[in-house]
């Protein structure tokens, strides 16, 4: 019972806080801050608690809440919440990033703070609900909670060109959302299931699988829609500009959490339910993801503005996640989930620290900074750690995700070329990450910085800024040093779901004379750290 | 001399309707426009009477009375509007009535 309360509360509490701010019941500024901290803190605590309590060996969903009479039962829509192996780490990550973003907003000293926090809380409740939903319709609905708040927040508190960017980001997000809605509706209609949530759908599909071409079409729609939402290669242009124009907490929530909506959808819904469809689109996805990694990576190197560099960098790292999904194996998908969780943490940390740097040096242009390490050693420390995490150095969570993705790429001979090219991405991210560190913190101090410093003396990271940053960094370190904490929970879920996909993949890539081994045996007892034995070379299978 | 069949009435009705339609589309004097509307409705009346007669069905003739009544009401409203418009804009030509529009 407590678990259900925690789960429901993590959506309801921020929503209630947000509505009370909107309705104007809270006048006192102090109370605004306290309630906002509650609104962000509760989901974080709930997320972490539920993550710890989650039992990785149980089949299916934990902590379920089901309410049926929502009015659209004929379409199969019910209010069904729950966490499973893939969603619980992401749920916890959303809570942590939300708390950090909320604290950053509270201490940012923005005007009309009450409205700002109300919109941010509303968005946060949507994000928590997104990962907690089992029912596909509510999953989509909660994602759309973020649409109007983003529009208003970018327009009111954003950077330059904010009015135009706000409209543009809304148009892109709506386009992606509608296309993916089309895919979801197609799925609903083609699979005549009584309920529109994942367990029922997978049950119905295991009885009667959809035809290959239908699967390909539906998966294609989902891929297009989710791809636009997650900034897959040709559709990525909105993302970096949007993040640059948005205020920092909004960028954190967007790049860190909201972007995972599409990837989460592809892993939870797309590939397990539509394995042949996923296979059909797999080459496309791999090439486009590579475009993300290489092309956007090179664009990132060309950025002189710190915030836009972080934005482009986040788009680049999404390429790795897409690679993991595009491989269509349980190893790839599991690593993608790990990378998603870690990337969410690392990119929001980067945005947070960029804001801190901007506050001290007055600008985002890296050319106008330099030598800040002497004055702000703690900030430098955090920033170096964040950059290393983004690059994918061992010790932080990103490493395990990227490593797993590379391993999964290496499994099939046809994917080895992707492996080679993707490894180049590491070099690219090292280039821009370390160069940023060098330019901002080390080296001679630029004149603009000196001039700015004379007006506003530079102080080191204070407690109010260090608290959210430290929270995220702690989570990253935890993930990096003890990856089993997360991978155990992901493991069983991914293995079960991807049993069909693995089967389809292997049957596609094996020579026809080799019988295909059964789905569960290869990675049932292994964590994603161990390499599954390459099946093609074992003649004993005959 | 051939007998007058419903086809002839149909042709007449279509002609009247067509002339009226063209009148509405082309003419600029609003009064003439209203008259063209009436012409269209009367063309329809002709067709109705013809079909009613040929099919020995009274419904058509009944319909004619309804149409005439409605046409009268419509023209009353239309003329009232025209008078009010003239008082305001001192013109009944459609090109002078152009306040609306982008």
């Amino acid at each position: 019972m407590l678990d259900q309360i925690l789960l429901l509360g993590s959506i309801a509490v921020p929503l209630a806080v947000s509505l009370s701010f909107f309705a104007g019941w809270v006048r006192d500024d102090e109370w605004v801050v306290k309630l906002a901290c509650l609104g962000f803190g509760f989901p974080c605590v709930a997320g972490i608690l539920l993550f710890i309590k989650f039992d990785g060996t149980v089949d299916g969903y934990c902590f379920e809440i089901l309410y049926e009479k929502m009015g659209l039962q004929e379409l199969g829509i019910t209010f069904h919440l729950g966490l499973n192996g893939v969603s619980s780490p992401l749920f916890a990550m959303a809570g942590i990033v939300g708390l950090a973003a909320g604290l950053a907003a509270v201490f940012s000293g923005a005007k009309r703070l009450k409205l700002y926090l109300a919109l941010l809380c509303f968005m946060q409740s949507g994000l928590m609900g997104l990962f907690a939903s089992v029912d596909l319709f509510f999953y989509y609905l909660f994602h759309e909670f973020a649409l109007i708040p983003t529009f208003i927040m970018i327009g009111l508190w954003g950077g330059r060109n904010r009015r135009g960017i706000a409209l543009e980001i809304t148009i892109y997000l709506t386009l992606g959302a509608l296309v993916s809605l089309g895919g979801l509706v197609a799925l609903n209609v083609m699979v005549d299931a009584p309920k529109f949530d994942f367990p029922t759908l997978s049950q119905a599909l295991s009885d009667i699988a959809l035809h290959d071409s239908t699967q390909a079409k539906i998966f294609g729609l989902l891929l297009l829609g989710f791809g636009i939402l997650v900034a897959l290669f040709p559709f990525h242009t909105w993302a970096p500009r949007g993040y640059e124009a948005a205020p920092t907490p909004v960028s954190m929530l967007h790049a860190g959490v909201l972007k995972k909506f599409g990837l989460y959808g592809l892993i939870q819904i797309g590939a397990p339910l539509l394995p042949e469809g996923a296979l059909f689109w797999s080459p496309w996805l791999l090439w486009l993801a590579l475009g993300n990694v290489l092309f956007v990576g090179m664009v990132t190197i060309a950025q002189g503005n710190l915030k836009s560099m972080v934005g482009y960098g986040s788009v680049m790292h999404m390429g790795y996640c897409f690679l993991g999904i595009g491989v269509c194996s349980s190893l790839g998908a599991g690593s993608a989930v790990m990378l998603m969780a870690a990337h969410g943490l690392s990119v929001s940390l980067m945005f947070l620290l960029s804001a801190s740097i901007q506050r001290r040096s007055g600008t985002y242009e890296m050319g106008q900074m330099g030598g800040m390490a002497g004055k702000t050693p703690i900030l430098a420390c955090f920033f170096v750690a964040a950059s290393l995490a983004t690059i994918g150095l061992p010790g932080f969570g990103n490493f395990w995700g990227e490593f797993g993705v590379f391993l999964s790429l290496g499994e099939q001979p046809s994917h080895r070329i992707f492996l080679g090219l993707a490894a180049l991405g590491i070099i690219l991210s090292a280039v821009f990450g370390l160069r940023a560190v060098a330019r901002i913190f080390f080296g001679p101090q630029s004149e603009e910085l000196t001039a700015h410093e004379n007006k506003n003396p530079i102080r080191d990271l204070g407690l109010t800024e260090a608290l959210p940053a430290g929270l995220i960094l702690a989570a990253l370190l935890l993930l990096g040093l003890w990856p089993r904490g997360i991978s155990d929970r992901i493991n069983k879920e991914i293995t079960d779901r991807y049993a069909k996909v693995d089967h389809a993949t292997l049957s596609l890539f094996l020579p026809p004379c080799c019988p295909v081994p059964q789905g569960g045996e290869e990675s049932n007892q292994t964590t994603p750290l161990q390499v599954s034995p390459p099946v093609v070379l074992e003649p004993e299978e005959r | 001399m051939e007998t007058v069949t419903p086809h002839h009435f149909m042709v007449l009705s279509s002609l009247l309707f067509g002339i009226g339609f063209l009148g509405v589309v082309i003419r600029r004097n609003l009064l003439v426009l209203l008259m063209s509307l009436e012409l269209m409705l009367n063309g329809i009346n002709v067709a109705l009477v013809a079909f009613s007669r040929s099919g020995s069905n009274l419904d058509g003739s009944l319909f004619v009375f309804f149409i005439m009544t409605v046409a009268a009401a419509e023209v009353a409203v239309g003329l009232a509007l025209l008078v009010a418009l003239y008082k305001k804009r001192k013109s009944i030509f459609s090109e002078d009535i152009n306040l609306l529009g982008n």
Partner: protein
């Protein structure tokens, strides 16, 4: 029964008190009708007037719709008339008469009844649009509406006559000729039989096309939507709302009745035609709305786009089998949601105190969210519901529409709809941007125009009504209760 009650809408006095009496009367009527509908379930379709009027379940729903709509129009209209100093007697008289006509229109089962009711409504509207006799724009809108309306009535009538022509001819009937005494060639049932027998008859086809053309005018579908921006621009605000909601709803219900009743035999012919019209309408409405500066014109064209979406629903209803009327209920739900959202928007627009009340520009709404937060919130939720953003009811309506269209395999129209919704985000959010976000610093010295929102404090009753509408919009976005049960 209730059918007779609405005909008591005849009040002739012209004092200001009439407004309050009219509102009271209409709310009583609405509540009474709703109770009647909910508690005494009339399941069988009753026929009156020798089969000219039928009173089935769907007609009951539409009647409550029209009553609610006219109630809200009276409320908005009352405030408008008080401010403008116009006589209010005829206004309420005419709106109630128009509502009565609309209700009869929805229950008509015979082309004669259809025509009479349609003309009643049209005449009332011609007068209402031109109600503000001191404003040349209002008169101009009225005369434009009259000309286009009369033209379309004539087209409709010619179509009916063509149908009659075939129907009165005994040889054309074939097997289903009901016998000389029973023949009523303008009734929907008989015509339905006739058309199933002869779907290829050229005259029948021409008649059907002309009738649909007449209806498409009322609804604002392309290529008959030219009147929409001008008439919406010039007419008084409550009448714009009335037009946009009731007239459109009536047109769609009649279209639904026609294509599922008499014209059912012609479905293969009508479906591609309607599909083309729907696609054209959606694109035209959305693209033209992007270019508008004046808010009322933009709302008119966005209404055209919504008409396009509803046409897709009508097409879907043609595809389903006889008993499966899911698409019809989707249409009703969409219309109800459209009613709520439109009246939210028009209600707030009505509160503005502009020098020329037709010229609502985006700039008049700058910073509304700061000047009057509740008005800004109501307006934003109305716009969001129209645009189809969760968690408002408009999203559910669009979702239902998408799923029904997908089931009916109308893929092309569905794609057009999705593209249309994305385009519509541009102008809807453009307006929201003006409302919620502060004006960027402008370079020229603009003299301070008098603030249109200064007098907002004295709006107690309107505030309650608008907040109720908004809450209904949001609640329906989450919980569709009785509508869902009907599926």
């Amino acid at each position: 029964m209730i059918l007779g009650l609405e005909l008591f809408g005849m009040k002739d006095s012209s004092s200001g008190r009439t407004g309050v009496i009219a509102i009271f009367f209409q709310s009583v009527l609405f509540v009474g009708h709703l109770l009647d509908y909910l508690f005494w379930h009339h399941s069988a379709a009753l026929n009156f007037f020798s089969d000219m009027i039928s009173q089935g379940l769907q007609a009951e729903v539409m009647r409550s719709f029209f009553l609610l709509s006219s109630l809200l129009v009276s409320i908005i209209g009352h405030r408008y008339l008080c401010r403008k100093g116009l006589k209010s007697g005829e206004f309420h008289h005419l709106t109630m008469l128009a509502t009565a006509g609309l209700m009869l229109l929805c229950q008509s089962n015979h082309f004669l009844m259809l025509f009479v009711a349609l003309e009643t409504v049209a005449l009332c509207f011609y007068t209402l649009v031109a109600y503000n006799r001191d404003s040349a724009k209002s008169l101009e809108a009225g005369i434009k509406y009259l000309i286009f309306g009369a033209l379309s009535s004539a087209l409709l009538l010619f179509g009916i006559v063509l149908l009659y022509g075939v129907g009165a001819n005994p040889e054309a009937w074939g097997a289903s000729y009901p016998g000389h005494e029973f023949m009523d060639p303008l009734s929907f049932q008989y015509l339905g039989n006739l058309m199933s027998e002869n779907p290829d008859n050229l005259m029948l086809r021409a008649g059907v096309v002309l009738i649909l053309a007449g209806i498409a005018f009322k609804v604002g579908a392309a290529p008959f939507q030219i009147w929409v921006p001008d008439v919406y621009h010039g007419s008084p605000l409550p009448i714009t709302a009335f037009l946009g909601v009731s007239s459109k709803a009536a047109g769609f219900f009649v279209l639904l009745n026609l294509v599922n009743g008499p014209f059912e035999g012609m479905s293969e012919f009508l479906l591609p035609l309607l599909g083309f019209v729907a696609t054209f309408t959606i694109f035209f409405g959305n693209l033209a709305a992007c270019a508008q500066r004046n808010v009322k014109r933009m709302l008119g064209l966005s209404g055209v786009a919504h008409a396009g979406y509803l046409l897709v629903a009508v097409m879907a209803s043609m595809q389903f089998a006889g008993d499966d009327d899911r698409a019809i209920w989707v249409l009703f739900f969409y219309l109800f949601v459209y009613l709520l959202a439109s009246f939210c928007v028009f209600g707030v627009m009505g509160l503005a105190d502009l020098p020329d009340e037709n010229e609502h520009e985006f700039s008049h709404y700058e910073d509304l969210a700061k000047k009057s937060p509740w008005a800004g919130f109501v307006l934003v939720s109305g716009i969001a519901s129209l645009a189809g953003i969760p968690p408002f009811a408009g999203f559910i309506a669009k979702l239902l529409l998408i799923s029904v269209a997908y089931e009916a395999k109308l893929y092309l129209s569905l794609t057009a709809m999705v593209i249309g919704v994305v385009i519509s985000i541009y102008y809807y959010f453009g307006w929201m941007r003006a409302i919620a976000l502060p004006r960027p610093a402008s370079f020229e010295d603009v003299e301070d125009a008098p603030d249109p929102w200064a007098g907002l404090s004295k709006t107690g009753f309107m505030k309650v009504v608008l907040v109720l509408l908004t809450v209904a919009s949001i609640v329906l976005g989450f919980w569709q209760g009785p509508f869902g049960d009907v599926f």
